[in-house]
Amino acid sequence: MGEVIVVTSGKGGVGKTTITANLGCCLAKLGEKVCLIDADIGLKNLDIVLGLENRIIYTLIDVVNGKVSPQEALVRHKIMKNLFLLPASQIATKEMVSPEDMKAIVKELSPNFDYIIIDSPAGIERGFRNAVTPASKALVVTTPELPSISDADRVVGLLENFGFSDERIKVIINRFKPHMVKKGEMLTAEDIRHTLSLEIIAVIPDSEEVIVASNTGVPVSLNGSSKIAKNFENLARRVRGENVPLENDFETFSKGFITTLKDFFSKLKRG
């Protein structure tokens, strides 16, 4: 039985789709069989970020309508042969899918996979319930600004209402800019962990590599020369239960920031 993880956030545009795609690639690279489910219809869909938009034949809606089985709707990744996508439909509205539908689909797929990762809409949006219901773990993505964290806090409250205990909810800090922490313009991981009272599973820097990659349809983690790829690999290893210190997430940053990061991390340890 595969582990079912939902990637969600309080507000949109914080990096859920990017993280879902790269986490999927990294888990697949580590030899896991992975299925990604697109439960969000955003600006840049999971299929585009993965470069699979031209290979879609069936979508989630065709599965819900009983036209095809979940397996038949899956699209295999071009490079990673053990990575699959269940695409979202662009035309269908989210009300056409119910949480029960999602549960049934995930249940049918789960024996064939090590991980099923669901790209969810933000907590305030429709379709959130669909994405969350089948999952047993949640990754909440936030950027390090106060409004985003407050929204993350709200989504954690919603997850609690859906029966998630706090141990099953982990936080990912995305688009972290170390020079802003230095100037005191950005919240540290310590601040964020205190506010949310939850474990931080990964810190991912703000990087142009991500934007370039999402335009080419090859996730950064599949690009050998990418620096940020290591951050996604760290996340994937932690998801698998490996003990990778959070400190390692800062190796990506240039030497000039080392002092800041040491400080950042020592605070984190104390807290």
């Binding site: 407050s150 929204d151 806090d153 709200r154 954690v156 409250g157 919603l158 609690e160 209402n161 706090d166 506010t195 009272s197």
Partner: protein, 210 residues
């Protein structure tokens, strides 16, 4: 026992003081059915409960019941049904923390509400955007950033205490304050001389100045 009132803020379901919750739930079902297709699924209404403090432990069930009928409760109005007006206090209902007794061993998050007719003790933080409604006193063993309303039942003898008292808004009985305690210093807010004062825990003076 239950009735709908149209106000500037939209439709308010007024529940008069009652003895038996089951009767009220049945009455609500009947009333909503009577109104037939006046409502669309997911319509938002406000809820006013007469003597809400006495019935505060029923609020989660009332809200759940109304939701079961296909309506969403957007806010709870506090005050008397005679004065459904600007004077009534409004409480946004997002998600009420279930199974609330006097002691809550968790952080109350943005959008969550704790409602209890007596004293409330939180072991955890009260985050921004979270709210406590207590008939009696409130103690937060953690940082309090959200909204705290105390003494709704007990009146101005109720107190509010926190290890770090930085609330968005505090209310004790009819008194409201936006003041904050000294950062990082366990503090107590109480009513003294017709206003809310905040004092550090070790310099506490409950004596009335009036």
């Amino acid at each position: 026992m239950v009735d709908f009132k149209m106000t500037r803020d939209g439709l308010v379901l007024v529940v008069r003081d009652y003895q038996n919750l089951e009767d009220v739930l049945n009455a609500i079902s009947t009333r909503v059915t009577q109104m037939g297709d006046f409502f669309a699924r997911g319509d938002r209404i406000a809820l006013m409960i007469e003597n809400h403090v006495k019935h505060s432990q029923d609020i989660p069930r009332l809200v759940a019941h109304i939701r079961g009928l296909g309506l969403e409760v957007s806010q709870i109005l506090i005050g008397s049904p005679q004065e459904v007006s600007e004077k009534t206090m409004k409480v946004e209902v997002r998600n009420v923390v279930e199974g609330v007794g006097k002691i809550v061993k968790k952080t109350i998050r943005s959008g969550q509400t704790v409602i209890h007719s007596g004293d409330v003790v939180i072991f955890g933080n009260l985050n921004r955007g979270a709210e406590i409604l207590a008939g009696g006193s409130v103690v937060v063993f953690g940082k309090a950033f959200g909204t705290i309303r105390a003494g709704l039942n007990e009146g101005e003898n109720a107190v509010i205490a926190a290890l770090d008292l930085q609330p968005t808004l505090m209310q004790i009985a009819g008194f409201v304050s936006h003041a904050k305690g000294q950062e990082g210093v366990p503090s107590v807010a109480h009513v003294k001389g017709n206003r809310i004062v905040i004092e550090p825990f070790d310099k506490l003076d409950f004596e009335r100045s009036d």
